[in-house]
């Protein structure tokens, strides 16, 4: 892993994938002896020995294919000239890679390839960065003796329909790397070879790339050895000259990318093969949707205003910070520390998040700090801590490749966690079984070469009932892993739980009326899950964002323990975190009741540690959560809020409630890239820096801490942690961090699970999975291997928790007969602040309401009609998409566009334990509509006014 920007050069490629074997094989290549694992190809062995056998169709991200025929070798005792990519090593094998005959053959093959290829290398966008060019040089091709008048594909039309990359078939050498990447790596199968023989051509199924099944993940582009599939930015800008390894700032998968630049100009983002979360794969967002960092909407100058009905005034940093500090001090003086609070961002780095909560606790003097991570994954923290003793998923992503049955509940990985979904699909194609629990028929239920064994299309809001019924089957049918429970879990609690789930009222038959899942399907799914060697559970916001979110997480943990699926590869309970640093934001002490490392604020010893380090006294009382802050604002006891990198107006439920709370405050400081929706209610706007402009760390869903590196100078001049530090200093705190590395040192000092983490170590090792401590000096890919984390009871045994199914108070009725559930789409990301400011909008211009044909028909709605979506809370309008992906009685939409504001409709019901909002269940009515709702029109007005910026004096 590279610390400093490196000169641009392609990443090393060993030609064929690594072979894993305990058996070692000795052979000689060109007389050199070497030993490699059995199953290694001759090509890879030669590459490991430092040689470079010419090749075109081979690349180490794909299975050997053997089509280009450039890598021929001679092997003693073997007939002919086998291809080194498809020939595995054997004990005692003697290989020659360079003989006069091989030289002649390779040159002959290359001459054929070049006889159907343009010759304008110097004006080609891949010039000097082209494997074909390299190979031609390696084999010493000097002339194409066939001449230039023969049949060729040089007139084939290029396809530039995709906004980010173009396909030029004239430059294609038909090596099939793109087709195989789409199949093997991405799992979409959107590409094929069309025709045959000389007519063979890569094709997205005879359609345009944009119109095809392509999901624009970029795997084909990364795999292409020529300029046939290439980023448009390369053609526009030129070959990069330096590169920085960093971590993607979209979802919780945490893909490692290599940012490639010319000077300060980012040319492209290329997935980094050594990234342990993504192994060189990417999705359309991380790979291509980085243009927002340069979008004209970006604000790079601080702004202030006295009142929110005034236009903004651009000012210098000192004036802005001085203005903010003065207001904060004044409010604190007048109303006390409890009137102040802050919100950390799961989009920012660990270091930045840590500083914001430190500012609130040590600077403001309250524990009124909360995070957007609570509105998505706080039930994960609560539920896994209650059962396993620690608030995090148990596995690394690679673990899925050892799973035999995979239960996906309340998650839609192909859209929301696409790079992990690709691995999951690889495993399914290898034969693992899949159970999907989701109200919608998500793509995983059935898409090319993947089909769920069972899809339990439950009624939204009934996760606990479904999981309890599964537990009922497993316990009553004797499918429990008794050995595991005896060895690893609390006996009494298990027995309580077992008695509870065995009650007849928890049978699939009894609960079918509530869950609407046919009992037979549920029983079969439960048996399947319990019967396989390794069962893994993956879940997302469809589990947490419910009034029973925490109960569901505990029910999942119960199921995993009951079936013995904890503590080794291929099993576990795995939350798929929505945002890049949800895990980190939680780890860093962003919740009002706990300090970093999930230690309760009331714990004196922990507090003392921090007090000593920070030199202040800390309040032992848990602070306010976001909705509590908003309530308190309305009653006047809460008046100032510092919000870093979050748009609570759009992302939090019940927009009216959020707006009213914000409007009641006296000092709202928004620290962001854009004048977001929340900024309409702000008095101070502090320009933020994008992930490309700062150094720090993100922690992904598998607890993997990875470096984010400053790729370019911040447009606003400061990294976000520097802004927070400047605000703290304006408030009179003597903070003197000279780098984000120093902040990480403090985190490590104060947080046991981060004890062994430092930027230096991350630079050297690439990534670390916490806990990194004395017991786990190299981190922890899989947790709870030998025992559970010792809890307050100190015994380190798994705790079964009885999870009673308490239905939400949100009920359908005559007025609101349908249930609305919400989610995400592949090309867009959360509130869309980033992705809407990129060409990704070409795939998803607006939020659509998915509705079942029978529900649409009974309302007189047809595909594309505009509809009014109303709940008890509010209403909005949007166009409908009629589809059987949703069951009758259920509607679905995304929340990526502020013009739709799906959260105007969602209620303020929330998880009983953590307040995580119940985004996933809202009773609604859908009726035909002619235009935007009154609210949408008012809101458009309001934001236009609130975003005025006064002309410079």
């Amino acid at each position: 892993m590279l610390t400093e920007p490196q000169p641009y050069a392609p990443q090393a490629d060993f030609g064929t994938p690594e072979a894993v074997s305990e058996t070692m094989v000795a052979l000689t290549i060109d007389g050199r002896r070497l030993t490699v694992p059995a199953g290694t190809s001759v090509m890879r062995a030669a590459a490991l020995a430092g040689g470079a056998i010419p090749r075109l169709c081979a690349t180490d991200s794909l299975a050997a294919f053997g089509s280009c025929r450039l890598c021929l070798v001679e092997i003693d005792g073997m007939k002919g000239t086998p291809a080194s990519c498809t020939t595995p090593v054997a004990e005692g094998m003697a290989v020659r890679t360079q003989t006069p005959r091989l030289q002649r053959l390779r040159r002959g093959v290359m001459e054929l390839t070049i006889s159907d290829h343009p010759l304008d290398c110097l004006t080609c966008s891949a010039s000097n960065d082209c494997e074909l060019q390299d190979a031609a040089a390696q084999v010493g091709l000097r002339d194409v003796r066939y001449g230039y008048a023969g049949a060729n594909h040089l007139d084939a039309a290029a396809d530039a329909s995709n906004p980010y990359f173009a396909f030029d078939p004239a430059k294609c050498i038909v090596c099939s790397r793109c087709v195989r990447a789409c199949d093997e790596v991405q799992g979409t199968f959107a590409l094929t070879i069309a025709g045959r023989g000389f007519d063979s051509q890569v094709s997205p199924g005879g359609e345009s790339f944009l119109g095809s099944e392509c999901v624009s993940c970029g795997a084909c582009v990364a795999a292409c050895p020529t300029a046939a599939l290439e980023e448009k930015s390369i053609a526009a800008i030129g070959k990069p000259e330096r590169a920085v390894i960093t971590t993607c700032a979209y979802c919780g998968v945490g893909c490692a990318f290599r940012a490639e630049l010319r000077g300060e100009q980012l040319v492209r983002m290329v997935p980094w093969k050594d990234g342990k979360a993504n192994h060189g794969h990417s999705c359309v967002k991380g790979r291509f949707a980085w243009g927002y960092a340069h979008h004209r909407d970006r604000i790079t100058t601080p702004m202030i205003r006295e009142r929110i009905d005034q236009p903004w005034r651009e000012v210098g940093w000192d004036e802005a910070l001085g203005f903010a500090a003065a207001r904060l001090k004044e409010i604190k003086a007048r109303h006390g520390a409890q009137a102040l609070g802050g919100i950390t961002s799961s989009r920012c780095t660990n270091e930045e998040t840590f500083l914001v909560q430190k500012l609130v606790r040590a600077g403001f003097g309250s524990n009124n700090v909360d995070t957007c991570a609570r509105v998505c994954h706080s039930p994960t923290g609560y539920g896994l801590k209650a059962t396993f003793g620690t608030s995090a998923g148990t596995q690394d992503f690679d673990s899925v490749m050892a799973a035999d049955v995979i239960l996906v509940i309340g998650a839609n990985p192909t859209d929301a966690h696409p790079v992990f979904a690709s691995r999951l699909k690889q495993r399914l194609r290898q034969g693992a079984k899949l159970i999907v629990v989701d109200p919608r028929r998500i793509d995983l239920v059935r898409s090319p070469h993947v089909a769920a064994a069972h899809h339990l299309a439950l009624q939204p809001g009934t996760n606990v009932a479904v999981l309890t019924a599964m537990a009922h089957v497993i316990v009553t049918e004797g499918l429990v892993d008794e050995g595991f429970i005896a060895a690893r879990c609390e006996r009494d609690e298990y027995q309580d739980w077992a008695r509870f789930v065995c009650e007849p009222r928890h049978s699939p038959e009894a609960l079918a009326a509530v869950t609407r899942v046919p009992a037979g399907d549920l029983r079969a799914a439960a048996r399947l899950f319990a019967s396989q060697r390794n069962g893994a559970i993956y879940y997302g916001l469809g589990v947490t964002e419910h009034s029973q979110g925490s109960s569901t997480v505990m029910a999942i943990a119960n199921l995993a323990m009951a079936t013995g699926n904890i503590g080794r590869a291929g099993v576990g309970v795995n939350p798929l975190r929505g945002q890049n640093n949800v895990q980190g934001a939680c780890d860093m002490g962003s919740f009002p009741h706990e300090l970093s490392g999930y230690r309760h604020i009331s714990d004196g010893a922990t507090r003392a540690l921090f007090e000593k380090d920070w030199g202040v006294a800390l309040d032992p009382d848990p602070g306010l959560r976001i909705p509590d802050m908003l309530d308190a604002a309305r009653d006047g006891s809460f008046r100032a809020l510092y919000i870093q990198g979050e748009d609570i107006l759009q992302s939090d439920p019940d927009t009216h409630h959020v707006a009213a709370g914000l409007a009641a405050m006296e000092c709202v400081i928004v620290h962001d890239l854009f004048l977001n929706e929340t900024a309409s209610y702000a008095h101070v706007f502090l320009p933020g820096s994008s992930f490309l402009e700062k150094t720090g760390t993100f922690t992904n869903a598998e607890r993997r801490i990875q470096m984010v590196r400053r790729v370019m100078t911040p447009a606003n001049g400061l990294e976000d942690w520097e802004v927070t530090q400047a605000l703290a200093r304006a408030l009179g705190l003597d903070w003197r961090y000279d780098s984000s590395a120093a902040i990480m040192d403090e985190i490590a000092r104060l947080t046991p699970s981060f004890a062994g983490v430092s930027h230096e170590r991350l630079d050297a090792e690439g990534s670390l999975q916490w806990p990194v401590d004395a017991a786990h000096p190299d981190g922890s890919p899989v947790m709870h291997v030998d025992g559970f984390v010792p809890g307050p009871n100190g015994k380190g045994r798994g705790k079964f928790v009885v999870t009673d199914y308490i239905p939400t108070d949100e009920r359908t009725g005559l007025r609101f007969p349908l249930l609305l559930t919400t989610g995400r789409i592949l090309s867009q990301y959360n509130v869309g602040a980033q992705t809407r400011r990129t060409d990704n909008s070409i795939w998803h211009e607006e939020d659509l309401l998915e509705i079942h044909p029978t529900d649409a028909e009974s309302r007189g709605l047809a595909e594309g009609d505009r509809a009014r979506l109303a709940s008890r809370t509010g209403e909005t309008t949007l166009r409908v998409h009629v589809t059987e992906r949703v069951a009758p009685g259920v509607v679905y939409t995304t929340f990526h566009h502020p013009a739709t504001q799906a959260n105007v409709v969602t209620t303020d019901y929330s998880d009983w334990a953590t307040n995580c909002p119940e985004y996933k269940v809202t009773a609604v009515q859908v009726t035909p509509s002619n235009g935007p709702s009154a609210w949408q029109e008012d809101y458009a007005d309001l934001t236009a006014r609130a975003r005025r910026i006064a002309p410079a004096a």
Binding site: A64, F65, G66, S67, C68, R69, L70, L72, G80, T81, A83, C85, T86, T87, P88, R101, R104, L105, G108, V109, L112, T113, S115, D116, R142, D143, V144, R145, Y146, G147, Y148, A149, G150, A151, I173, V174, S176, T192, I193, G195, R196, G197, F198, D199, S200
Partner: protein, 502 residues
């Protein structure tokens, strides 16, 4: 009432057998449709009480029934063409009704399978190995070793696949067997399946053989109870010569593009749907019932020449007077086949060349007609036996054109996966055209930007040298035999008939 026997083999029907049968029926005869004896120049051949008449037309019916026809050839079974043969695989040819279970059982049908079941998998494999049977599809791999590999592979499912994609010009033995004695193939597959533990089998027949498809499907239905638990399904190709290559065939069976797979893995270990699979040609599988009969393996091993054991159904085709199916032990010479048995050319002109082994086989001049029919002997002569097709050309053939055709065929049938075959075959056609017509100035090569291109024309000698190098690239560089063997006809034509190349 007279019973006449007329073949319903596709070749006989193409030559008018249906109309002839109809004429006999109208004349009040009972017509039995049997398989073909394989004496094609005599088709449609009519058998009345063991006496043969052919080639017959409706006009010959009264004469034949009167016993006065000039189409009479005497007793069929004693015909010279048959008398010289040793028919094991084609023992029933001409003698039975193809879909008659009764006829099959009456002619030792199912005896091999019954014995195989009695002696068990290990003994079956041992006998096949002992027989010396080698794959008849062209590669000549020992059939017993393949069975053993599949048998020893650990897998929940295994398959037996019959490669009936007989695409080589000049070959028709598979078609004749499937149309004439389909139960023999089914019995052979059942023996192989029993040996390896497979419960499903596929017969992949090319779509150019609609009659074979129909017969095989009917036969599979009739034989289903006999071979259970084995289930055999007939699948039809879709116009792709390359699907005769086993891995391409497997891809096609899986519903994919018929692209060739790189080996390893061998199909015996990871074949159809990734499972261990026996893939064998029709003639290989159809040889098993005889080999598994009591004493069959030893009998089989006792025949032949060198390492090529048993008999080979050789197909005499093209411009030959007595074309047809000729099954003999290995070792027979081309001279005997073409001149003695085949009677020279049909045109009566001098023989110029024969192509043995289909479109990928070498052209052999009469000066080499002493070559014994034997895998190793042919390989040593840069030739191949392939599927045993012998196509005779008379003196009018232009061997440069045949070389061009070899490249053209390869270009038309290349799967497109590997570079030498995909591009090389097209360049080969262009190069042979350039050799035939003389090089024209290449406008692009003449541009001043093209500093590395030679100034002036490339000469014929240069082009011949390039053709030879292209052939080397294709032969050693191609992924499968299609690109790898196309140089055989090209280079053999160039070597033996250089004058045809100008």
């Amino acid at each position: 009432m007279t019973t006449v026997r007329i073949s319903d083999d596709a070749l006989a029907r193409a030559c008018g057998a249906d109309a002839l049968a109809q004429a006999f029926a109208v004349a009040g005869c009972t017509v039995e449709r049997v398989s073909s004896w394989g004496m094609h120049w005599l088709e449609p051949l009519v058998e009345v009480d063991g006496l043969g008449f052919g080639p017959a037309t409706a006009a010959d019916v009264p004469g034949i029934l009167a016993g006065l026809s000039d189409k009479a050839i005497g007793r069929i079974g004693e015909h010279r063409f048959l008398a010289r043969q040793q028919r094991l695989t084609f023992a029933r040819a001409g003698r039975t009704r193809p879909l008659s279970l009764g006829d099959y059982a009456a002619t030792h049908g199912w005896e091999g399978l019954a014995r195989a079941r009695a002696i068990g998998p290990q003994a079956i494999i041992a006998e096949v190995i002992a027989s010396g049977l080698r794959g008849r599809g062209g590669a000549g791999f020992p059939a017993g070793i393949k069975l053993r590999t599949v048998a020893e592979a650990q897998a929940p499912r295994k398959f037996v696949v019959c490669n009936a994609d007989e695409g080589d010009s000049g070959t028709f033995a598979d078609r004749m067997l499937m149309e004439g004695d389909p139960f023999a193939l089914i019995e052979g597959m059942a023996i192989a399946a029993h040996a390896v533990g497979a419960e499903a089998g596929y017969v992949y027949v090319r779509s150019e053989y609609p009659h074979a498809v129909a017969k095989m499907r009917a036969a599979c239905t009739l034989a289903a109870p006999r071979i259970a638990p084995l289930h055999i399904e007939v699948r039809v190709g879709a116009g792709a010569y390359v699907c005769g290559e086993e891995t391409s065939l497997l891809n096609s069976l899986e519903g994919k593009r018929g692209e060739v797979r790189a080996k390893p893995p061998l199909p015996a270990l990871a074949g159809l749907f990734g499972c261990p699979t026996v893939v064998n040609n029709v003639l290989t599988l159809a040889a098993l019932p005889h080999i598994l009969s009591e004493g069959g393996a030893a009998h089989y091993a006792g025949l032949g020449h060198g390492r090529s054991r048993g008999t080979m159904p050789i197909q005499l085709a093209g411009n030959i007077r007595h074309g047809g199916l000729f099954e003999v032990p290995f070792g027979i010479t081309l001279d005997e086949l073409v001149n003695t048995i085949g009677g020279g050319t049909a045109s009566g002109r001098a023989v110029k060349a024969v192509q043995v082994g289909g479109p990928l086989g070498a052209y052999i001049p009469p000066s080499r007609f002493d070559l014994p029919f034997d895998y190793e002997a042919y390989a040593a002569a840069d030739a191949l036996i392939g599927h045993g097709g012998v196509v005779v050309f008379d003196e009018r053939v232009d061997m440069a054109r045949m070389a061009r055709f070899a490249m053209e065929f390869c270009a038309a049938e290349s799967c497109g996966k590997c570079t030498p075959c995909r591009i090389g075959s097209t360049r080969g056609v262009e190069l042979l055209d350039r050799i035939a017509t003389g090089a024209a100035p290449d406008a692009l090569a003449a541009l001043p930007q093209m500093r590395n291109a030679p100034r002036g024309l490339r000469g014929r000698a240069d082009d011949i040298a390039l053709l030879e190098e292209l052939c080397e690239t294709m032969q050693y560089g191609s992924l499968c035999a299609l690109g790898g063997f196309t140089p055989f006809p090209v280079l053999s034509a160039l070597r033996h008939w250089p004058q045809d190349f100008g």
